[in-house]
């Protein structure tokens, strides 16, 4: 638990950055990629594939994807950790913290790997 407390400022920084990217960029990206394009609102799958490959195949697009997805994972982990304490799960502080931040770290590694393969 000492380690978690020591790293709290870093978690808080990741939480803040993830919150802003999650509120400003994620809704638009999610709406377009997960809802709009599958419904065919913005062209057929081949057209959207070419467009998305062009936009996210370059370093700037990749950096944006990595930043948004991985920081939102950290934001969600920190938010859920404090929510768990709010509802009285103090006694599970250590396992919950390690599990949630561990999942965020795993999500970040997977994000780097997936976006790197683009």
């Amino acid at each position: 638990m000492k380690l978690i407390r020591k790293l709290e400022p870093i978690f808080w920084m990741l939480f803040g950055a993830g919150g802003f990217l999650g509120s400003l960029i994620l809704p638009g990206l999610f709406f377009m990629i997960v809802i709009g394009m599958p419904l065919g609102l913005f062209g057929d799958p081949f057209t959207t594939f070419v467009r998305m490959s062009t936009l996210f195949g370059n370093p700037v697009g990749k950096a944006l994807l990595v930043a948004v997805i991985s920081l939102v994972f950290w934001h969600a982990a920190h938010h859920l950790r404090h929510f768990a304490f709010d509802i009285g799960l103090h006694r599970f502080q250590a396992p919950l913290s390690f599990a949630l931040y561990g999942l965020a770290l795993a999500g970040t590694v997977v994000t780097f790997a997936v976006v790197g393969a683009l």
Binding site: G19, F20, G22, S23, L24, I25, L26, P27, G28, L29, F30, F31, M32, I33, V34, I35, G36, M37, P38, L39, G40, F42, G43, P45, F46, T47, T48, F49, R51, M52, S53, L55, F56, L65, I69, V72, F73, H75, A76, A77, H79, L80, H82, F83, F85, D86, I87, G88, H90, L103, G107, V110, T111, V114, V115, A117, L118
Partner: protein
């Protein structure tokens, strides 16, 4: 004892902060707070669905078409729309809370009020949302 010594952690054990009476469901304010705190789950789910899309993109046009078909199926569409609703709620509430962060004052220009800051943040959100839609839809390049 010096003032510095007084800030040292005490060996006396203290109880954790107690939640207010009726928390978490007794008042609408608590319920909205709990809903906001619980948006961590749909936010993570949104990222997973997005990552699946990025993964499909790296598999070429066939993988991408498969992902499009999967996401267009009614159960996945229902899940995506529910997740999008939660993400939107998170975004609006996060920015509305963010209006409390004091803005930078520029010379003699008076600082904007909290309400104006909130409206400006939400306007920025709408502008960015539309910008992403225009960029990803390809309307700029038609």
């Amino acid at each position: 004892m010096s003032a510095h010594a007084a800030t040292r952690s005490s060996p006396t054990r203290t109880l954790p902060a107690r939640p207010p009476d009726g928390f978490p469901f007794a008042h609408p304010r608590y319920r909205w707070y709990v809903l906001f705190a619980a948006t961590g789950l749909p936010l993570a789910l949104a990222c997973v669905l997005l990552l699946m899309g990025v993964c499909a993109l790296s598999q070429g046009s066939v993988g991408w078409a498969r992902y499009m078909a999967l996401m267009a199926s009614p159960p996945m569409l229902a899940l995506s729309v529910a997740t999008f609703g939660a993400v939107l709620y998170f975004a609006i509430r996060f920015l509305w809370v963010g209006r409390k962060i004091p803005g930078v004052r520029l010379g003699p220009i008076p600082a904007v009020s909290m309400e104006v800051a909130g409206v400006l943040q939400l306007a920025g959100f709408v502008k960015l949302f539309l910008l992403i839609v225009v960029l990803l839809s390809g309307w700029l390049f038609l």
